[in-house]
Amino acid sequence: MNKNKIINVKNLVKTFEHGQVKALNSVNLEVSEEEFIAIMGPSGCGKSTLLHILGGLERPTSGEVMVDSVDLCQMKNLDTFRAKKVGFVFQLHNLIPVLTAQENVQMPMFELKLSSKERNERAEKLLRLVGLEDRIDFVPTKLSGGQRQKVAIARALANDPKILLVDEPTGNLDSASGHEIIQLFQRLNKDGRTIVLVTHDKEIAEHASIIYYMKDGQILEK
């Protein structure tokens, strides 16, 4: 069955330092709903910049970027887009050290009109989903690297986004934990989430259904 394009990027250019540094050079990319794609490439090739633009963290210099029917070049307020349309998972979990797993997962929910009780319940449910139901009240320092990354994934799912944008999720993990995390993404993909994974690790990228290669700010091949 032909699925709708949830991400559509045309001739995307992103420059820094007043045009002196070209991070993305005429990038074209199409991602269908419920697809799991990986973008591979060496450090500095522009893959993280592309991910940041897809997630509304950066604005393109030129080109077209449509994500879940939102034109990111035209949209003035990207906060709402980030809160509702996408979920980010970073290489470093970036959890708030003084908050418990459950409290960390609630962070994105503050922008939704939910009661404190609803936030608690939703966070608990998400932690169950990632297999951390027995670690709800643990602070990050009491969790292993893999568990912290799972909390970060639960946080990314907090507002039930259709798209997960994942930046080197296993970069700081041992292979067993890394494998577990990738399996979790596969499961989430099967449940209907679109996943865009950025990595320089070929073994990790191979778990995606499509792999794109990037070099010098351009997508070279599929």
Binding site: L57, D79, A83, F88, P97, F110, E111
Partner: protein, 369 residues
Amino acid sequence: MRFLWLIFKNILRRKTRSAFTVLGISIGIATIIALGAIMNGMTISMEGMLKSGKADFSIAQSGISDFAFSRVNENRTNEIQQLEGVKDAAGVLLGFYPIANNPYVITWGVETQDFPLLGVNIISGISFSQEHELLIGEVASKEWNKTVGNTLTIRDQEFTITGVFQTGSMYQDKGVALSLNKLQQIQNQEGYVTVIYVELEEGANAEEICQQIEQNYPDLVTIKNISELSKVDKGLETLDAATLAISLLAIIIGGIGVTNTIMMSVYERTREIGVLRAVGWTKKRILTMVLGESILLCLFSILVGLLLGVIGTQLLTLQPIIRGLLTPMYALDTFLRAFIVAFSVGLVGGLYPAYRATKLSPSEALRYE
């Protein structure tokens, strides 16, 4: 989890740093509380001098900056008493002497027939009738452990206590009263009094009578209430200005301390702020969080400052010179002023770091190491 809980937890991340910041602001708050209490105590003391017993207003020398130095011709008392609408007038001489190891005791030179107008009730013993006799105030009697039959020394002259009086004014009841003639003689001020207390006939117009007195006697000034004290005494005004200056200083010093603490906290959490922006937090929410931390720190400072202020004031009153002069009074407006100062410090101190936090680009913040 509630948003306020997050703000609270953020403050607790660096407990020592937060504690020192709170302590810094608290000292400013404590100073405001202590000065306010002393100021209120002084106001009440001054009121005690200005309004005595049944007196509707008092009269002092015009053009002076300290009420205690007022010098009014004693004959004016009789002249004022003759005015239409005036029921009674009493001339009183005030002096301040070290008595019974207390360095600053208010000493009243009065005529015994003026006791009803001055509200002096003798609660034990009898009034003075001889030159070297005096009455002791109820509070002074208890504090100094002196009563009828004991003696007190004023300027090397020994006086026997014949009675204990009570006026209801803490300030007056901390002093002693002796005959007007004797005090004039001790102070070399024969024929002069410090103040004339005036009681009006029922229905008399105080405003008109005061105007008439000031017109007829340009060397005199009338004081109907404490708000007119500045006509004869600049002490309270000066203290009030000093309190205001110290409050402003507390805002500036506290504000810089809070700015520094919150700024450091924002720098340390740059990456975290990037993540919060990435998960959809608006700039307004980031601003609210950082400002909230700053304001909450200052609200904690109020609690600590209150405690330090009250303890500090009580320690001050252990000093005989302070105890003899005033009783600190804690009024609502003092606490309100402390609250406003603390809140302003929080707001002003947190504004710049909060602004900086909102200006962080989410993408750059995520790359921050």
